[in-house]
């Protein structure tokens, strides 16, 4: 991968890439797995530096970011470019964070309703979709062996149209479909 490509990806993450270059780069990203993985690393690093990661992440996540930095000499060389990610946080942002913490604090002291507690004990919950005979089934259509039974993917697509229509989440239901790479999940 060329230095120019790395610069373009970094600029894309920083929202500093010219529109014309963006179009070309995104087109190229769609067909290049290596380039997409590079974008993912830059995105991880950017999010980590800007503290935009969720509160609850994999404990190894930061280690993963550090390894990504160490493993990619071109990223290390470009550390000057990443320095611009250390932007000062606006005072209002801090105020908003404090407000969010206040809401969460109030929420954490709320009592669980008795009915909710009872619900949790309805039946043991397995960690994956399984057949009645006990063999596992992943939640995507290609894993479904039956010609007659409905696949979960079809139900998900069908349900999403109701969820999108009624909720305010925009494309979020579809983001789940696109974002959950079953091959990646299987490996982990």
């Amino acid at each position: 991968m060329t230095e120019k490509l790395h610069e373009q990806i970094s600029a894309l993450v920083d929202d500093e890439l010219a529109a014309a270059e963006q179009t070309l780069l995104i087109k190229r990203l769609e067909g290049d797995v290596t380039l997409r993985n590079s974008l993912l690393r830059y995105q991880l690093i950017s999010d980590s530096l800007q503290n935009h990661l969720p509160r609850k992440v994999d404990p190894d996540f930061n280690i993963g970011v550090q390894l990504a930095l160490q493993d990619d000499p071109e990223i290390r060389v470009r550390s000057a470019g990443l320095a611009r990610l250390f932007k000062p946080v606006a005072g209002l942002a801090i105020a908003a964070s404090v407000a969010v913490v206040a809401v969460l604090s109030l929420q954490s002291v709320r009592q669980e309703s008795p009915s909710a507690t009872a619900t949790m004990a309805v039946a043991p919950v397995t960690d994956e979709f399984i057949r009645a005979d006990g063999t596992p089934l992943l939640a995507n259509s290609h894993a479904h062996p039956s010609a007659g039974a409905q696949s979960l993917d079809v139900y998900l697509v069908n349900h999403n149209e109701y969820a999108v229509n009624r909720g305010m989440q925009g494309m979020l239901p579809y983001v789940r479909l696109v974002g959950h790479d079953m091959n990646v999940d299987d490996k982990e």
Binding site: A90, I130, A163, G170, G179
Partner: protein
């Protein structure tokens, strides 16, 4: 006593004012998501993983057109227009085409704020800077453990959604969507809305359209859900030929105004294996149960315990063997 009454009125008035203000922001956000033309790159965080996607959205004289494409991991795309939604998945070599339901007219947030306030608390918080834009933070906090909460960062200049968190009852983010680049413009190039995956050689499944999955019967369901979280009501019911063998599936939709759950009931063939247990896709949970020779599947963007509670409570109005 009079002072106490006045104080209580003042407090309740303030709560309603907060709810109403938050609701106005949410309404404007819903309108912006549907009416603006935009091209953006965002990250989706779930289960400690991060995916990058691009979304292109256009509203014009031919209605809405939308394209969602993965930039990391396996190539996957979702294309939507006013008639259909098409999901192209390269990893499973599958294409699923579903019928697009008509959009709910604005606003999307339920009009019955009093009813909604029984199950969620809406709040407009401070401002935050997100993806280079100033945004207003709006929170929706569930009042019990049967539903999720939301935090939205809404652009103060055009009401576009810049970031959203789906939160559990403890307020912890379990899913995040955050734009890293967003361009709102008057027009979107046609090429930006065209799929990069053709679907050639893939396994195609068409469902939901009148020609492929006609509605057999509406009316009232043959099956009943005996245990639902407070506030969830039946909003849609259809019996459709959704199965590959042409048999029909009973589909009930329940909503509390924000969260939605679907209950699917299908009769299994003699050689079919039933499924049972929990599955999830991010915050979307599914639970399968078996009643006699019928498969029950409950799907919803609600906690796992909720879909489980609903699934195990489904039973026929009449004996299952009829």
């Amino acid at each position: 006593m009079k002072w106490l009454l006045l104080a209580l009125l003042a407090i309740s008035g303030q709560v309603f004012a907060e709810d109403d203000n938050a609701r106005r922001w949410l309404d404007q956000m819903s309108i912006a998501l549907q009416s603006l033309n935009y091209d953006g790159t965002f990250v989706y965080l779930h289960d400690g993983k991060l995916e990058t996607m691009r979304i292109v959205h256009q509203t014009g004289e031919h209605g809405e057109m939308e394209r969602l494409v993965s930039l990391t991991g396996s190539p996957r795309e979702v294309l939507r227009d006013d008639r259909a939604v098409t999901c192209i998945m390269a990893d499973s070599k599958s294409v699923t085409v579903g019928q697009r339901r008509p959009r709910q007219p604005f606003p999307v947030v339920p009009e019955d704020l009093d009813s909604l306030s029984r199950y969620y608390q809406l709040q407009a918080l401070g401002e935050d800077r997100m993806a280079g834009h100033m945004s207003r933070v709006i929170t929706i906090t569930p009042r019990d453990r049967f539903r999720y909460g939301y935090r939205f960062w809404i652009d103060t200049s055009n009401y576009m959604l810049l970031k959203s968190d789906l939160t559990d009852v403890n307020g912890e983010a379990i899913e995040q969507v955050m734009f890293t680049h967003l361009k709102v413009s008057n027009t979107i190039p046609v090429t930006a809305l065209q799929p990069s995956l053709t679907g050639d050689g893939y396994n195609w499944t068409r469902q939901g359209s009148d020609s492929h999955n006609p509605v057999v019967r509406s009316g009232s369901p043959d099956w009943v859900v005996r245990r639902l979280p407070a506030g969830f009501e039946l909003t849609d019911f259809q019996r459709k030929r959704m199965r590959k063998d042409g048999a029909s599936v009973e589909h009930m939709v329940f909503s509390d105004g924000l969260a939605t759950m679907s209950v699917y009931v299908e009769k299994l063939g003699p050689d079919e294996t039933a499924f049972q247990g929990l599955s999830n896709m991010g915050a979307m949970n599914a639970f399968a149960a078996v009643v006699g020779d019928h498969q029950i599947t409950v799907i919803g963007e609600v906690p796992a315990a909720t879909v489980q509670m609903v699934a195990v409570s489904v039973s026929p109005h009449k004996p299952a063997d009829d």
